[in-house]
C-alpha cells in the first residue's frame, strides 16, 4: 500500500522550460493547420447535401464536437479511477481539466444540433435520442463542475469529483439505452440517423478530418488548462 504522498507533495512544473514550450507551440500549430483544413474541407471540398442543403455543413462541427464531448468524459472517468487508486493530484487535475474542456464541446453539440434540426425539421428541439443523450451528458458535466465549486478542501474535492466522475460515466450507456427505448415508442423527428456508410467518400473524408482536428483541439486545450492549473499550484505552494 502506498505510503508516499499524494496531494501535498506534488512538484509543480516549472513555469517554462524550452522543451515543453516548443512542443506546446507545435501542438497548437498542428491544431490550427488541421482546423483550417477542416474549414476548407467542410465548405469547399465536401459536396453539398442534396436533401439538407448548405446548413448541413454544420454537421462537420457537430459530430466531431460530440466525439470529443464523449472522449473528454471518458478521460474524466479514467482519471477519476486513477486518482482514487493512487491519490496522485495530477489525475485530479486531468479530470477537472477534461471536464471543463468537455463541457465546452458538449455545449457546442447542443448548439449545433438544433441549428441543424431547424432548417430540416422546422423545429429546434424534438427530443431526438442523440441530442437528448448529450443533454444528459451536459447536465452531468454541469453537476460535476458545480460539485467542484462547492468543496473548498482540495483533497476532498478531488475524492468527491472522482466518485461523481465514475458514476456519471458508467451511467452513459444506460442513458443511451433508456433514451433510445423511450424514443422508439415515439418515432417522430429523429433528426440524426446513425448512418455512416451511405455517405459519399468526400463527406466521410471531411468528417474524419473533423474528428482528427477536434481531437487535436481537445489535446491543445487540455495542455493549456493543465498548464494553468500547475502555475496556480506553484503559486499556492510558494506563498502559503
Amino acid at each position: 500500500m502506498r505510503t508516499e504522498t499524494p496531494i501535498a507533495d506534488t512538484i509543480a512544473e516549472p513555469a517554462a522550460t524550452p522543451g515543453s514550450a516548443r512542443s506546446r507551440k507545435a501542438l497548437w500549430g498542428v491544431t490550427f493547420a488541421a482546423m483550417a483544413a477542416l474549414l476548407v474541407g467542410a465548405f469547399a471540398y465536401a459536396p453539398e447535401d442534396l436533401e439538407q442543403g448548405p446548413p448541413q455543413r454544420i454537421f462537420y462541427i457537430h459530430v466531431p464536437s460530440a466525439w470529443v464531448g464523449f472522449l473528454a468524459f471518458f478521460v474524466v472517468f479514467v482519471a477519476s479511477i486513477a486518482f482514487l487508486l493512487t491519490k496522485r493530484r495530477r489525475f485530479d487535475d486531468v479530470a477537472a481539466a477534461s471536464a471543463e474542456v468537455g463541457m465546452v464541446f458538449t455545449s457546442a453539440v447542443l448548439v449545433t444540433g438544433p441549428l441543424l434540426a431547424r432548417p430540416i425539421w422546422g423545429t429546434y428541439w424534438s427530443w431526438d435520442p442523440r441530442l437528448t443523450r448529450f443533454l444528459v451528458l451536459w447536465l452531468t458535466y454541469l453537476s460535476y463542475l458545480l460539485l467542484r465549486g462547492y468543496v473548498p478542501d482540495p483533497a476532498r474535492r478531488a475524492r468527491f469529483s472522482a466518485v461523481l466522475g465514475i458514476v456519471g460515466f458508467l451511467d452513459v450507456p444506460i442513458v443511451y439505452l433508456s433514451v433510445r427505448w423511450w424514443r422508439a415508442l415515439h418515432p417522430e423527428a429523429v433528426v440524426f440517423t446513425e448512418g455512416g456508410p451511405q455517405m459519399p467518400s468526400q463527406m466521410l473524408a471531411t468528417l474524419l478530418l473533423g474528428l482528427a482536428a477536434f481531437t487535436l483541439l481537445y489535446l491543445a486545450l487540455m495542455s493549456l488548462r493543465l498548464r494553468l492549473t500547475r502555475l496556480r499550484e506553484a503559486r499556492e505552494e510558494a506563498a502559503p
Binding site: 500500500m1 505510503t3 508516499e4 504522498t5 499524494p6 496531494i7 501535498a8 478542501d153 482540495p154 483533497a155 476532498r156 499556492e236 505552494e237 502559503p240
Partner: protein
C-alpha cells in the same frame, strides 16, 4: 478483550489536508499502560494525532500500528480496541442516553449490550439521565454519557480530545478522578489538554506538538516545575517566530 498488549507506534506519520499540513513526520511510541498528556498550541496537530490513531484519518505518509498491527490492514479489528472522544459528543440529541448507549454497544459488536450499558452507567454515574433525551442534558452530564459511550467496549486505548473544555471546576475535578480510575494496567490513555497543571496531576508522560511535529517528549515524575517552564518557553518561542 484479551489479545496482544496494545501499544501504539507511529512511524514518520504525516497528514495533510490539501495544502494544509497537520502532522509533519511524527515518531511516537507508547507502551501499554501509559497515561500520556498531549499539549500544544491550537493548530499544532493534537486533534489530528488522535484522529489518526483512532482510524478516523488515514496518514498521508507513514504508518500507525496498534498492538503491532498496521491500522490500514486491520482497521476494523483495531478500532474495536479504541475508544475515542472528539470535540463533539457523538450522541444523537433526539435519542435518550440509554438508546444512544445501547446503539453503540451493538455497533461495537457487544453480544449482550444490556449489561455493558448497565456497567457503564454505574461507572459514570448517569443513572438519572438514562431515559432523558440527550438534547436536554447538562454539559457535564452529557460529557459523562459521552465517556460512557467511548468506554462501553472496554477499549485498550482511550483517546480523549480536550475533554476539559467547557467544564466547570466541579465537573473538571470529577473528570480527573474518572480518568485516574480509567488508568488501569494494560490500557493506554491519551488526553489532549491546554492546562499545564492538569497535565501534571495524573499523566506520566507529556508530549508537546508544535506545527505538526513532536517538540517535547518527557516523562512526568515529579519534575513538574521544570517541565512547566520548558513548555512555556516553547510556547513563547512559537509566538515569537
Amino acid at each position: 478483550m484479551t489479545g496482544p498488549e496494545a501499544g501504539i507506534l507511529l512511524d514518520r506519520v504525516s497528514k495533510t489536508f490539501g495544502p494544509q499540513v497537520a502532522l509533519a513526520g511524527v515518531d511516537l511510541e507508547i507502551e501499554p499502560g501509559s497515561y500520556v498528556a498531549v499539549m500544544g498550541a491550537n493548530g499544532s496537530g493534537k486533534s489530528t494525532l488522535l484522529k489518526v490513531i483512532a482510524g478516523l484519518a488515514a496518514p498521508t505518509r507513514g504508518s500507525v500500528r496498534v498492538a503491532g498491527v498496521d491500522m490500514r490492514r486491520a482497521g476494523s479489528r483495531l478500532r474495536a480496541m479504541v475508544g475515542y472522544v472528539g470535540h463533539a459528543s457523538m450522541l444523537y440529541p433526539d435519542l435518550t442516553a440509554r438508546e444512544n448507549l445501547t446503539f453503540y454497544a451493538k455497533l461495537f459488536g457487544l453480544r449482550d449490550p444490556a449489561p455493558a450499558v448497565e456497567e457503564a452507567v454505574a461507572a459514570f454515574d448517569v443513572e438519572r439521565a438514562l431515559d432523558r433525551q440527550v438534547r436536554t442534558l447538562s454539559r457535564g452530564t452529557k460529557q459523562r454519557v459521552t465517556l460512557a459511550r467511548a468506554l462501553l467496549h472496554q477499549p485498550k486505548v482511550v483517546l480523549l480530545d480536550e475533554p476539559y473544555t467547557g467544564l466547570d471546576e466541579a465537573a473538571a475535578v470529577t473528570l480527573t478522578t474518572l480518568l485516574d480510575d480509567l488508568h488501569t494496567p494494560g490500557r493506554i490513555l491519551l488526553v489532549t489538554l491546554h492546562d499545564v497543571a492538569r497535565a501534571m496531576s495524573g499523566p506520566g508522560r507529556l508530549v508537546v506538538l508544535s506545527a505538526g511535529r513532536v517538540a517535547l517528549d518527557v516523562p512526568l515524575d515529579g519534575r513538574g516545575v521544570d517541565v512547566a517552564e520548558t513548555y512555556h518557553s516553547l510556547l513563547r518561542s512559537e509566538v515569537a517566530s
